[in-house]
Symmetry: C2
């Protein structure tokens, strides 16, 4: 009984790996080097995927490339399967095309397609050129499907039998193909018409197990199987798997020919990766992809390209303050409250964004529900605006001894809270409606609009009541 | 062939549902009402879980409670399975205890436990009181496990056989239990010692399928099975399932007795829900749970409890400005730049938070890697700080025609960017290290610290160079 209580988590695994790689390099005899690399392979296997990724993340480029060079294709394929796609692609681009091709052939077809589609076109071509022509053709066909469609997510390794085969024949054939069966992680067997082309049914292992041997599989298969077209987009796949409890679904082309199988796991992972990407993009990391082990210039550039847009938007908002500089000079205490109103409105707006993003992902609001969302948001915004406005007004009055200052900043915050929740709640739905990334909402759009509006409210109200404010 | 291209998504399904419920209420004859409710049941089935949740979300409380009252227990259980737990719990609390008990008995044991643990204690007691005493005891035992442990996530419905049974006996028994087998979504069969107590092995359906009938299952089961203790926490379960490709794992107690089965799906869902909760908490929604259909006072209260803490932190930061009010009076243009520096630093810091959160969730950084993360962050922070500082300095100079103003705000932004990425990158790891929610970092902690530091930098640099700044 191997009882799991804590996962393996060795603290300085990458230095062990570095030392092993350095020793392998110093070895002059190929046998000794191979022996060391076998222990490297075992060492990597003993780590789980996340520890492998972590360990790999810490290696410098030199050690990384050496690791791939020394490992045999099978172990290298195992390694690449454990890594985020972005790291796997980078490794393959640094490897010799022959080595890269050998590694790719060891990978399941969906991983192959993932990696190939993210490679630079030149690397892609040079790897295909050294592959077995037949394999290369099939691989290129798979890589041609966009990675966020059923075609890009499917595996081609499936078990299919003709409908006239009997239960006993299928079981006998499965016995002979036992190794393959072990590799495929089979839950369903697919049934085609007798030309072996069109999908006509699905067989569950348990039904095969419980059926009499002489019966043709046609007689106990699930007819009218649910199948998905090869060009079905990821969002639809997520909804389909959410509505039905299948572990996998067959993929067909326009003529109902069976092409492959999409696993629930692949769909979930692809969606989760996109989610995480969205979270990074929401915070302004262009492309939604950053690992700290990437080159500094790349990381800085991706973050900067958004920050520099943001600074322009900030300047636009600040120009509202500049326009009211005289008002501000006359009542300098207002400057203390401007950043508070900007930050508080941003927070209120972001709460509304977060709830909209969640309700969109749960499917309980759709892009057309803008009015419903807005109605629900202003109700909360009105309450919170009044409470926060009173809080800030009271504080300003007590702190600065000026009741009119309280009225100005309190009113501005109350009104701007309403504005912020209205924008925050509805913008994600509007962006989604136009096919854009709703995560963008919480960043520049929300902040700029609430800042412009907040600064304008404080300063215009203040200039209207200037005489009462300054007591002159 | 049912080909899925677009999921069903009827736009105004809740008004259909409302109309059906209103008609059901007007019917005086029980038969007619039952007939209508049967069509309501079919209507709900035709929607997927997310559309059911969306449709339900729009019903008012009166219609919701009527829906549960009129539906039979089985349809009501189907409905509750489609809803987020928070809505399901609310429904059960409004139902008569007898009805609630009947509905619970129709649900799989993990859903039961989820709902029961979130019920108010009084409702929980009154529902248990009307259940069959034996069922009540088992249910209460399951509900006693914390919901984020193996015990809280497991189902008790599993197939287990004694190790001395033969393949043929097991298959024969499965044939007799076919209905049960259909309900369980079986992938593995568990093998116990001959007292039917301790777990000694796991059987894959495919091995049972391919084995000769006379062999005892002991001879082809997987011995030394991986099992998890009933008190294993969610984080560990996530890592275990990530390191191994099992669809489910058996759950045992301290004496290795088989208690149930944890599905990969349940672990993924629980983790995803916690993730989404974290995203909401990150934006200051206390408890991490809000649906717009919840009562306004509850929603406003949860958002406010965080906003009001935030306003206090904001006032602390603003008091730095207040302390330098004379400096600000002397160079009023600075007031234009204070919100820019506050917002830009917040953004840079949040980028670092987002990358840390992602690397934590991928497992490629651990809480102890603070120094590594900080080293990687200051490299990027230095580049971005200099670029952004120069941008802001140039803008300030051109805009206000004052080079010294450019130096002051540019230097402050450059230095504060370094501060922000250092805090943003490391705080999530430090919070995680102390068992706190890393999502908290991007909110109050980061903003307050970067604001205090940013305002101090601008105003203290400005006051040092005041004569050059104002040209006096």
């Amino acid at each position: 009984m191997s009882e799991v209580t804590e996962p393996i988590s060795p603290e300085s695994s990458w230095s062990t790996l570095e030392r092993l790689l350095d020793r392998a390099e110093q070895e002059s005899s190929p046998e000794a080097r191979e022996a060391i690399m076998q222990s490297v392979g075992l060492f990597l296997q003993s780590l789980g995927p996340s520890d492998t990724a972590r360990c790999f993340d810490r290696l410098d480029e030199d050690h990384r490339n050496r690791l791939l060079e020394y490992l045999d294709a099978e172990s290298a394929a195992d390694l690449i399967e454990s890594l985020p796609t972005v790291q796997g692609t980078e490794l393959l681009e640094h490897a010799a095309p022959e080595k890269a091709a050998a590694i790719l052939e060891e990978l399941p077809s969906d991983e192959q397609a993932d990696l190939l589609t993210t490679l630079e076109p030149e690397s892609f071509e040079s790897i295909l050129a050294v592959m077995d022509p037949q394999v290369a053709e099939a691989t290129a066909a798979l890589a041609a499907y966009p990675s966020d469609t059923a075609g890009g997510l499917m595996v081609r390794e499936i078990l299919a039998y003709q409908q006239s085969a009997t239960a006993a024949e299928v079981i006998e054939n499965l016995r002979r193909r036992i190794d393959e069966v072990d590799d495929y992680d089979v839950q369903y067997i697919y049934v085609t018409d007798d030309d072996e082309e069109r999908l006509v049914g699905v067989l569950r292992l348990r039904d095969l197990l419980l059926a009499r041997g002489s019966r043709p599989i046609r007689s106990f298969m699930i007819t009218d199987p649910v199948a998905i077209r090869v060009d079905t987009p990821l969002e639809t796949l997520v909804e389909v798997f959410e509505q039905r409890s299948f572990l996998g679904l067959p993929v067909i082309d326009g003529e109902q020919r069976l092409l492959g199988l999409v696993h629930r796991d692949s769909v979930d992972n692809a969606f989760h990766e996109r989610d995480i990407g969205a979270h990074l993009r929401e915070h302004g990391i262009v492309g939604g992809e950053e690992l700290r082990s990437m080159p500094i210039a790349l990381r800085a550039g991706r973050r900067l390209s958004w920050l520099s847009v943001n600074i322009v938007l900030n300047l636009m908002a600040a120009s509202v303050i500049a326009a009211y500089q005289d008002t501000l000079s006359a009542a300098i205490t207002l400057a203390v409250f401007l950043p508070i109103i900007s930050d508080m409105s941003g927070c209120s707006g972001n709460q509304a964004v977060a709830v909209s993003m969640r309700e969109l992902s749960l499917g309980i609001v759709k892009p057309l529900d803008v009015f419903y969302v807005w109605r629900k948001e202003i109700a909360v915004g009105a309450i919170n605006g009044i409470v926060l406005g009173l809080l800030l007004a009271g504080t300003a009055w007590l702190w600065k001894g000026n009741p009119m200052l309280g009225v100005v900043v309190g009113t501005a915050l109350a009104v701007n809270t309403l504005v912020a929740v209205s924008i925050g709640g509805s913008v994600p739905l509007i962006l989604k409606r136009f096919g854009m990334d709703p995560a963008l909402a919480s960043g520049p759009i929300l902040t700029t609009l609430t800042d412009v509006c907040g600064f304008f409210l404080v300063l215009s109200i203040a200039s209207t009541f200037m005489s009462q404010l300054t007591g002159t």
